[in-house]
């Protein structure tokens, strides 16, 4: 398809524009995407379809796999929820308040995007290990963070935070401050104004941020495995299980688990998207 994209014989696309380079740029783009993105994903699909439903179910219904899926999705949802709350708070502070060093705080929010996951992983593991700076304090209260599901949640909160902040921040900045003044002239308290006037228009953005953080959390590997402890049935995430299967040269097993993960992700994100559409209809008549 890349070769014909720019050819004049293709009458369905008669006039893409008058500038030169359409055929070359689109052709190259499609070829590149086909080789780098589509081909491998197609290979995954072909491999999976070769297993058949029974072959798939035999692996996916394995209790260890089921436990890891529950853990991965459960903790991802929890971390995304924590990020939804604190991300909103951070976005609020960055948009609404002025304080010294605000530019630096704003920049540092993107740290999880810029810091390699393995680096974040060993740093978090060290920090929350029983002898680490925070782990030591937690131990006093009888809390074990590293090498438990709590540690996984911490890593996923770290990874997901910028998603919520960066989706909410522009919407909040665009929010007309006059609506708050309008609410005040109508006698509404600050709390009521926040609850009924400011938060509703932000909800679609918060849900988007939540979905992004959740999707990233489910697939996350590098920052989690160091702090997770990786105990089967307790703190073993699904991506790790894929790696374990691969290391055992069990390609079919790895494919099955990856497929189960993608499938559940897809269904959950679909549900979140529907909630999103509903909230837009409810709150987003903009």
């Amino acid at each position: 398809m890349s070769a014909t994209a720019g050819s004049p014989s293709l009458h369905r696309w008669p006039n893409p524009g008058i500038l030169p380079g359409f055929g070359l740029s689109l052709g190259f783009t499609l070829l590149y995407l086909a080789l780098i993105v589509l081909l491998p994903l197609a290979a995954l699909a072909v491999k999976a379809s070769g297993l058949g439903f029974h072959g798939f179910w035999a692996i996916a219904a394995d209790p260890r796999v089921v436990a890891s899926l529950k853990l991965s999705f459960g903790i991802s949802l929890l971390a995304a929820a924590i990020n939804a709350v604190f991300g909103l708070l951070v976005a609020w502070v960055l948009v609404r308040y002025d304080f010294p060093g605000k530019r630096i705080v704003d920049a540092i929010v993107d740290l999880p995007f810029a810091l390699p996951t393995a680096v974040a992983g060993i740093a978090l593991a060290t920090l929350y290990a029983p002898k680490g700076w925070i782990g030591r304090i937690a131990e006093v209260f009888g809390l074990k963070i590293a090498y438990t599901p709590v540690g996984i949640a911490i890593a996923l909160v770290f990874i997901g935070l910028p998603f919520v902040v960066r989706t909410v921040q522009p919407v909040l900045a665009d929010l007309d401050q006059e609506i708050e003044e309008a609410a005040a002239t109508l006698g509404a308290s600050r709390f009521l104004t926040i609850r009924r006037v400011i938060l509703p228009p932000l909800i679609p953005a918060v849900i988007t941020g939540f979905a992004l953080a959740f999707a990233r959390g489910v697939g996350e590997y590098g920052s989690v495995i160091f702090i997770a402890g990786n105990m089967p049935f307790v703190s073993e995430i699904t991506p790790l299980l894929v790696v374990i299967k691969l290391e055992g040269f069990d390609l079919a097993g790895a494919t099955c688990i990856a497929l189960a993960m993608l499938g559940i992700s897809f269904v959950m994100l679909l549900a979140i998207n529907m909630a999103q559409a509903l909230s837009r209809r409810r709150f987003g008549h903009v």
Binding site: A182, G187, V197, H285
Partner: protein, 362 residues
């Protein structure tokens, strides 16, 4: 309710938006705050509403000092320039918001709120649109929702910031009449901000002209138009030429020419002589004191305008009857029928008013 503003000052960092403003707003009147951008008119309105804290001075509602009453408790109705409607609420919920926001004890019942909302929708001629969202309304309709929302809480005063600024010309004219109607029906003390002189002159009982944070003049449309209190008001409202003149012996001299002002003018020194385009008496050039050459002319609405040059690089517009044919290049004698002289020493001399009333003092 009447409102008295005393020595009001407001500074934003280094910018002085208001310095020492005094205004008395009479109960039940429709008052316009008029001025160019940056004149402080919106700031004055927001200080009255309680949306800005003044850096000095006081605001009285009747005899109560309202300066420190928080905006939530001030009981003002405020209509924002861009309406500031709650986009995620229906029209009905927008209008009912102020009532629903009241603390438990004072909150009307659900049915009472619904009834009040229906009544207001009817009042602003939007019956049946209560279930719509603001995005589904036209600009004029949104404006009326904003007004109904402000009226729902039964305010003691209605404040409107550039109420027609965001509308196109035709809707603006319709809503202008309609606002007058609303004001007359409610009898509320109403203050609106505008930069459009036609709007202020046509709509308001009285007009406050502001410039650089100071009041230039307060008065009726007649006062403002016929007896401008300062060169600024002359320049800002209506057309007029302000000639730089040298005054001596009852004459105003411009270059080599001079205009007799009358023997009662004993002032000497520099001054600005203001004349509106239709206040020139035209005559033959020979017998006149001030002579000019017509350099161009054009039709402007109901009248004809001619550009007259009285000296090199010194020209102004005069108005002619539409049927009055004057050839370009023709020389004309000019004498002001009405004029106003502002002397450098601060005196205002106007042959039309025998005495300068105190109100007009700058």
């Amino acid at each position: 309710m009447d409102i008295r503003v005393r020595q009001l000052a407001k500074e934003f960092n280094t910018f002085r938006a208001l310095h020492g403003v005094d205004v008395d707003i009479r109960s039940g009147e429709l008052l316009a705050l008029l001025g160019p951008s940056g004149s402080g008119k919106t700031t004055l309105l927001r200080v009255i509403a309680g949306l800005e804290e003044p850096t000095g001075g006081q605001v009285f509602f009747d005899d109560i000092d309202a300066t420190s009453i928080p905006v939530r408790e001030r009981g003002v109705g405020f209509v924002f320039q861009n309406y500031a409607l709650f986009k995620h609420m229906t029209v009905a919920r927008n209008i009912g918001f102020g009532l629903e926001a009241r603390p438990k004890g004072e909150r009307p019942s659900r049915a009472a709120i619904a009834a009040r909302v229906a009544e207001l929708l009817d009042f602003v001629q939007l019956s049946g649109l209560g279930g719509r969202y603001p995005a589904q309304l036209s600009g004029g309709q949104r404006q009326r929702v904003a007004l109904a929302r402000a009226l729902a809480v039964e305010p003691k005063v209605l404040l409107l910031d550039e109420p027609f600024g965001a509308l196109d010309a035709k809707v603006r004219k319709e809503l202008r009449k309609w606002l007058r109607l609303i004001h007359d029906k409610t009898g509320l003390t109403t203050v609106f901000v505008t930069h459009d002189q036609d709007e202020a002159l046509e709509l308001a009982d009285r007009i406050v002209v502001l410039n650089k944070g100071l009041v230039e003049q307060i008065g009726s449309a007649d006062d403002i138009y016929d007896r401008p209190a300062s060169p600024f008001v002359y320049d800002f409202i209506g057309d007029a030429v302000g000639l730089e003149v040298e005054v001596a012996d009852g004459r105003a001299t411009i270059g080599t020419q001079s205009i007799p002002l009358g023997l009662h003018v004993h002032d000497r020194g520099k001054g600005r002589l203001y004349v509106r385009p239709h206040h020139w008496q035209l005559s033959e050039a020979d017998a006149a004191h001030l002579v000019g050459t017509v350099i161009s002319q054009r039709r402007s609405g109901a009248e004809r305008r001619a550009e007259v040059e009285i000296a090199a690089h010194m020209s102004f517009e005069i108005s002619l009857e539409p049927g009055q044919e004057i050839a370009t290049g023709c020389r004309l004698g000019l004498a002001p029928k009405r004029w106003r002289l502002f002397t450098a020493s601060g005196r205002v001399i106007d042959p039309g008013v025998s005495r300068v009333p105190e109100d007009y003092a700058i």
